[in-house]
């Protein structure tokens, strides 16, 4: 084992956190232990022995396991931002558990760990295989991981919402609650984590040789592929065990190794040795503080969401300090032989959209469940209900797709999208505040959503200005912010308040509350903003060529980026109000447009708008009719189709 002879920093960090945590724990425990023992069932002592103590033990173990997992990921992927949260591994495990609890509850007894492992392994496989095709660029890897995280988390939350009546507890659990009622969980976690830790100890030497570079370490006898597989398997398994035991605890695996590094643990072996200790002490401290601060509510406040609230700003703060070793690979503008002329592509997209619109407007389900065209008596009544929704999702889909096209051109990254920018999350946060603090009805929620989106946009812009609007910083900052907002919403939801259901409805992209006025407003906003975007087509054609050519043709680089980010933000904010933060149309629209041979900015944006609008109309139609009389939110339908579709596409193209 590497000793602390060379560097006392990490040891000091561990000691400090442990002492702080211990002090807070003492404050927690003192009331229970101070009074004389009561005969019989002494609540204070019982809770102390079988709830408080196992909880603190679980915090230590989970913290250590997650931090070890994060350190392993960071070392083997050579990526300082990797951890079970940013790679989507924890979210994958959680989604698998939610799905199993809904559809295969029999699996969850003894098979709980296996289910979690299957989920996290699938998530890791997706993210790593995508990363491998892009040369393990740290930035791309984390971006894909966070998109996957968002998708898994969103899907898990929505499944909960659709079944909310008898899954009340999933709220708490899904967001990572450390609450315990016996020693069973910490004890089983102990031996599992210990077993993995022993394997890690065995590979620590070859792992540290990785830093010497691939050829050198191969020459020294390191079997690279086998080593990578073993280490990633360990990291994934650790995350799965923790998620299976206590749910998703956000960002500990990112924060602990970062602290270790800042405290002076430089060499890989040091990092892998100190990170788990720091992680354990960190989660111990965080959870004790949470319990102390939240008092009686602490059993319902998900520690996982609270760590995310504090962890994600840290990620934000660390961004400028981290040297991202590889720049993003500028996605080369593929000079593929155009299959069609741009005009033909656009005409086809427009025709398909028209058909979709007509179909969606005229076709529905009747009372008995049979398919029916709108007719006779009901014509007016039904159209009054249906048309606003259709046009609102059409406008939103078009706006998201155009925002996506702008962002992808601006950043040169295919995974960039408004969902990832965090603005959607900002709107959600605004709605949450409106609901919980003020509850002013629909118009108030609308206003707060705009304020929330604008604030996030401002924070992103201000944060990015320092970095000269370097695209990767902006996107990662957006994701960090969106993770934080999601966590805050998670905390609000877990208070068990009935208003949380309204919030979940919003997040799932339901058009339930859209009426004629809001739809008209949405369409008008879309028309104005998309026109603005089309007016900026020259900038958008030049920017992907890189900063140097842009400056060379006399473009005000920073100003252009600022304006375009602002425009993308407005488009996203307006669209999110209708279809929620998770639709992924902003990713799909521009992609499909490029696939159709629309490579220049103007045709790509027009094509993306048509395709994005069409996708949302189709999603709304499916959601409205497929399980009628029950309705699946349009945003959810498009997310369910969108994300896997996107993954497939990236595999094919890369």
């Amino acid at each position: 084992m590497p000793s602390s002879r060379h560097n006392l920093g990490p040891a000091v960090a561990v000691l400090f956190l442990l002492c702080a945590g211990g002090a807070v724990s003492w404050l927690l425990a003192a009331p229970a232990l101070s009074g004389p023992a009561e005969p019989g069932y002494d609540i204070a002592r019982m809770v102390f022995h079988y709830s408080t103590l196992p909880r603190l033990a679980t915090a230590l173990l989970a913290g250590a396991a997650l931090a070890l997992s994060g350190a392993l990921f960071q070392q083997v992927l050579r990526n300082p931002l990797a951890d079970p949260t940013t790679l989507g591994v924890s979210a994958g495990a959680n989604l698998a558990l939610v799905v199993a609890s809904l559809f295969l509850p029999g699996l969850l007894g003894a098979g709980r760990d296996v289910v979690a492992l299957a989920g996290s392994a699938a998530a890791a496989a997706v993210v790593v295989s995508l990363g491998a095709r892009r040369g393990f660029s740290p930035y791309s890897l984390v971006l894909s991981g966070l998109v996957l995280s968002l998708w898994c988390g969103g899907l898990a939350a929505i499944l909960t919402y659709l079944n909310q009546k008898y899954l009340a507890s999933l709220f708490i659990w899904g967001a990572g609650s450390l609450a315990q009622q016996s020693w069973a969980i910490p004890l089983s976690l102990l031996w599992k984590v210990a077993a993995i830790a022993i394997i890690c100890a065995l590979v620590i030497r070859p792992l540290s040789l990785l830093d010497l570079g691939e050829s050198t370490s191969s020459a020294l006898g390191v079997k690279l592929v086998r080593l990578r597989v073993i280490v990633i398997a360990c990291a994934v398994t650790l995350a799965a065990f923790v998620t299976s035991a206590v749910g998703v605890i956000g960002f500990i695996g990112l924060v602990a190794p970062t602290i270790a590094r800042l405290a002076g643990a430089r060499r890989p072996a040091q990092l892998i040795f100190w990170s788990p200790l720091i992680g354990a002490a960190l989660l111990f401290f965080a959870d004790a503080t949470l319990q102390f601060a939240a008092g009686g509510l602490s059993n319902f406040l998900p520690t996982g969401a609270v760590t995310a609230i504090f962890g994600s700003p840290l990620l934000l703060a660390l961004l400028p300090r981290l040297k991202i070793r590889h720049r993003i690979q500028q996605a080369p503008l593929r000079k593929r032989s155009r299959r069609w002329d741009a005009k033909v592509s656009i005409a086809i997209a427009a025709a398909v959209l028209t058909v979709l619109l007509l179909l969606s407007i005229s076709l529905g389900r009747a009372v008995g469940g049979s398919w029916t065209l709108v007719f006779g008596d009901y014509f007016r009544d039904i159209l009054v209900i249906r048309l606003p929704k259709i046009f609102a999702v059409l406008a939103s889909g078009a706006m998201l797709a155009v925002a996506g096209a702008i962002l992808q051109r601006l950043t040169g990254n295919e995974m960039a999208s408004p969902e990832v920018l965090g603005i959607s999350a900002g709107s959600t946060f605004g709605v949450a505040i409106a609901l919980f603090a003020i509850a002013p009805g629909f118009s108030g929620q609308f206003a707060f959503a705009v304020i929330g989106a604008t604030l996030v946009l401002l924070v992103i812009l201000l944060g990015a200005r320092r970095a000269g609007f370097a695209p990767e910083r902006v996107l990662l900052a957006g994701i960090a912010l969106s993770a934080m907002v999601d966590a805050v919403v998670g905390v609000l939801s877990s208070t068990g308040d009935p208003r949380a259901v309204l919030l979940m409805r919003w997040m799932s992209g339901s058009t339930y509350l859209v009426d004629g006025t809001s739809a008209a407003l949405e369409v008008a906003i879309a028309a104005v903003l998309i026109t603005l975007a089309l007016a900026a087509r020259r900038w958008l054609d030049i920017l992907p060529l890189g900063p140097a050519p842009s400056v060379a043709v006399g473009m005000p680089l920073a100003k252009a980026r600022l304006a375009l980010f602002g425009l993308a933000g407005l488009l996203t904010a307006a669209a999110t109000l209708t279809v929620g933060p998770l639709s992924f149309v902003g990713l799909m629209g521009p992609h499909l447009a490029r696939e159709a041979g629309l490579t220049r900015a103007m045709p790509q944006m027009i094509g993306a708008a048509l395709i994005g609008g069409g996708l949302m109309v189709a999603a709304d139609f499916v959601g409205r009719t497929i399980v009628s009389p029950y309705q699946i939110p349009a945003g959810l339908v498009s997310a369910l189709i969108g994300a896997p579709f996107l993954m497939l596409m990236m595999r094919r193209r890369a």
Binding site: S51, S182, Q631
Partner: protein
């Protein structure tokens, strides 16, 4: 000839109160109910609803009374399917304060009858539910049926009370498990607390709770119940992993309720319902206690 004249008068009164002419033919009223308690009350008034919300979950939460197969599902109460609702052409839509945000969208479709049972100042729920039943009956011209129904309820409570009299039943704590660590415990002014009183039983959880009649507690709090032989009654559905987890938790093992015969799981009964649901609870509970005695 008293009855026809009386119902004629009712119709006349209602026609003057309500603007729509459809109310002249009371028997054919097309009613959609967006609340389980109101739906079951309609059934008991002899006027089955045309459509209700969340029909698919009726069997999981309400079970009895059984709905006629003609009832149409209008979607989830959180997202009413307005296209279906419009096609049903209802005369009356029954709602609760919980769905107030929908009022502007419901009012153009039909007359909306908003009945309050669970409100901050409603007081004890069972009397509030009785009052709401009478009000609903008056609005749809079914006063006679309402009085008969309420008399049936009184008779059932009295019968249960008589069956349990002299059996020396200990105080009962009523809970729904949320997870292995938390439960909702039901007490005054809740519906089931009132039902317990009506059949002569004592609630072991003596603290007043919120206006819905429940309080969320950690299971260890159940140890504050001091009555020596108190029994714990949990309602189905119990979340799947709760009972195995409780079995290994010392917090549960050391509670007096974990002893054999002190804990039972009762079939589902809707604690946020109205008179029918209180009746179902009383009947189920009386059966259980009689079996055990």
């Amino acid at each position: 000839m008293a009855i026809p004249r009386r119902s004629f008068l009712q119709c006349a009164v209602m026609a003057s109160v309500m603007p729509r002419p459809a109310f002249a033919e009371v028997a054919g009223l097309r009613i959609v109910s967006l609340d389980y308690g109101l739906s079951s009350t309609l059934l008991s008034l002899g006027l089955p609803p045309l459509g209700i919300s969340d029909l698919a979950d009726w069997g999981r939460w309400v079970v009895e009374p059984v709905l006629p197969s003609s009832v149409i599902d209008v979607g989830s109460a959180y997202e009413i399917n307005f296209e279906i609702l419009v096609q049903l052409k209802p005369d009356i839509i029954l709602t609760t304060p919980y769905l107030d945000e929908l009022l502007p969208k419901l009012q153009p479709i039909a007359k909306v009858l908003r009945l309050e049972v669970f409100t901050p100042d409603a007081g004890p729920i069972l009397p509030a539910a009785t009052a709401a039943t009478r009000r609903l009956a008056a609005e749809i011209g079914r006063q006679d049926e309402a009085e008969q129904f309420l008399a049936r309820a009184d008779a059932l409570f009295a019968n249960c009370r008589q069956r349990l009299a002299g059996k020396d039943i200990p105080p009962l704590a009523l809970v729904n498990f949320e997870d292995a660590r938390h439960a909702r415990v039901y007490s005054a002014p809740g519906l089931f607390h009132n039902a317990l009183e009506r059949i002569g039983l004592r609630n072991a959880w003596t603290r007043q709770s919120n206006y819905w009649g429940f309080e969320t507690i950690g299971i260890e709090q159940l140890s504050t119940i001091t009555a020596p032989e108190a029994r714990l009654i949990a309602f189905d559905p119990v979340p799947p992993d709760v009972l195995p987890k409780l079995a290994e938790s010392p917090l549960w093992q050391r509670l007096p309720f974990s002893r054999a015969g002190h804990f039972s799981v009762l079939q589902p009964a809707l604690m946020f319902g109205m008179v029918n649901e209180a009746m179902r609870f009383a009947a189920l509970l009386t059966d259980l206690l009689e079996q055990d005695a």
